[in-house]
Symmetry: C2
Subunit: 194 residues, 2 copies
C-alpha cells in the first residue's frame, strides 16, 4: 500500500492509471514510487483514525500504519505523511487519540480520508475527552497516548506513542474489524476465517 494510500485511502485514485506488471512475477530493481506502491497494494492493514488538537482546532487522519511495538511500556507507532493536511497538528500535539475502527465505523474512516472538507463539522459525532483531545464517540476501541519519539522516514514521520488510557468493547468477538486492501474496504469475521 502506498504512503498516500496508507494515510489517505482515496488519495490512491490518482494512481488508477498505473500499469500493473505484465509478467507472472515481475521483478523490479531500483524501485520507482509507483512500483513500490504496486507492491504494497498487496499488503492489507487494519484501519485507524488518529485525532489531536494542538491548540489550532481538531484534526483527524485515517491511517493504516498503526501497530503495537511494545507492551511494557505500552507503545504504539503510526506514520504521517508530510503531504497530509493533518500533519502539522499531529506532529505538534503532545497527546493523540488512536481509534481502531470496526466495519461499522467505515463512515469515520472515509470522513477522515476526504480532502478539502471540515471533518469536524458534524458536532454530533465527536466530543472532547476530559484531558482535551477530540475523539469520535462511535468508536468503542481507542487509545489516548503521549507522543514519546519521532523518526523521519522519507516524506513521512514515524511517531511513537505511549498509551495512557484506552477504551475497549466488552466482547472483542462482537467487533467486526475494518481492513483496507488494494483500494477496497473489507470486514473480518467468521466468513473470512481460515
Amino acid at each position: 500500500m502506498s504512503t498516500s494510500a496508507a494515510l489517505q485511502p482515496q488519495g490512491q485514485r490518482i494512481d488508477d492509471s498505473i500499469e500493473e506488471p505484465q509478467d507472472a512475477r515481475h521483478r523490479f530493481e531500483g524501485l520507482t514510487a509507483s512500483e513500490f506502491k504496486t507492491v504494497f497494494r498487496n499488503h492489507p492493514a487494519g484501519v485507524a483514525v488518529i485525532t489531536a488538537d494542538a491548540g489550532d482546532g481538531p484534526v483527524g487522519l485515517t491511517a493504516t500504519s498503526v501497530f503495537s511495538v511494545s507492551a511494557e511500556p505500552p507503545l504504539l507507532v503510526f506514520s504521517v505523511s508530510s503531504q497530509s493536511s493533518s500533519a502539522p497538528t499531529i506532529l505538534a500535539a503532545d497527546t493523540v487519540v488512536v481509534h481502531l475502527l470496526g466495519a461499522e465505523q467505515l463512515d469515520i474512516a472515509t470522513l477522515c480520508a476526504t480532502s478539502d472538507i471540515d471533518r469536524f463539522a458534524d458536532t454530533t459525532i465527536w466530543d472532547t475527552l476530559p484531558s482535551g483531545e477530540p475523539y469520535f464517540t462511535a468508536s468503542d476501541t481507542w487509545i489516548r497516548g503521549r507522543v514519546v519519539s519521532r523518526m523521519e522516514a522519507g516524506n513521512s514521520t514515524v511517531v511513537a506513542v505511549h498509551a495512557l488510557e484506552a477504551s475497549v468493547p466488552d466482547d472483542l468477538s462482537d467487533a467486526d474489524p475494518l481492513v483496507y486492501h488494494n483500494r477496497t474496504w473489507h470486514s473480518l469475521g467468521e466468513h473470512s476465517r481460515i
Copy 2:
C-alpha cells in the same frame, strides 16, 4: 495486537488466561501490558515474514508490523522485539527481504512464528538471492531492501528499510492476502469485501 503477537503470533498463547474487560466499554487508565494487548487484539494486520543473514546463518521472523511510510524514496518500516530469537541477526543485517504473504503461504507464517525449531531445515522451500539474502520461494510478493534507520521503542526496535528490489505477482487480484486478528488467521477476497 500485542508486541509478541505482532511478531510471533503463537506467542500469544501464553495470554489465553487474561480476562477480558466486563463492561460494555471498559476504560483503562494507566495501561498494564495485558490491558494494552487486549486493546490491540482488536486491530487486524497483514502478515509478513522478514528474512536476513548477517553472516551467522539465515533467520526468518513473522511480523504483523510492516507498513509503507514513503514512496519517494521507497521506504517501509517494521518492528522487531528484543525477545525475538531473530532480533540479533535482523538488527545486525545491512539488508533484509520482506515477504508480504498470501493465505496460501500460511505455512511460512506459522513456520517463522514457531519457537525452538530450525526454520530453514527444509532446504526445498527457501533459496538465496544473487545478493546473498535468504528468501522463501513460495512467496511471490517480496521486497529486498537496505536498513537505513532504527528507532528504539520500549522493548522493540522500529526498523526503516529502503526498497532496492521487489517481486510481485502478475495480477494482484489473484492474491488472497493473509490477515492476522485476535489470534486467528483470515483471508481477504470477494467474501470479505464491504
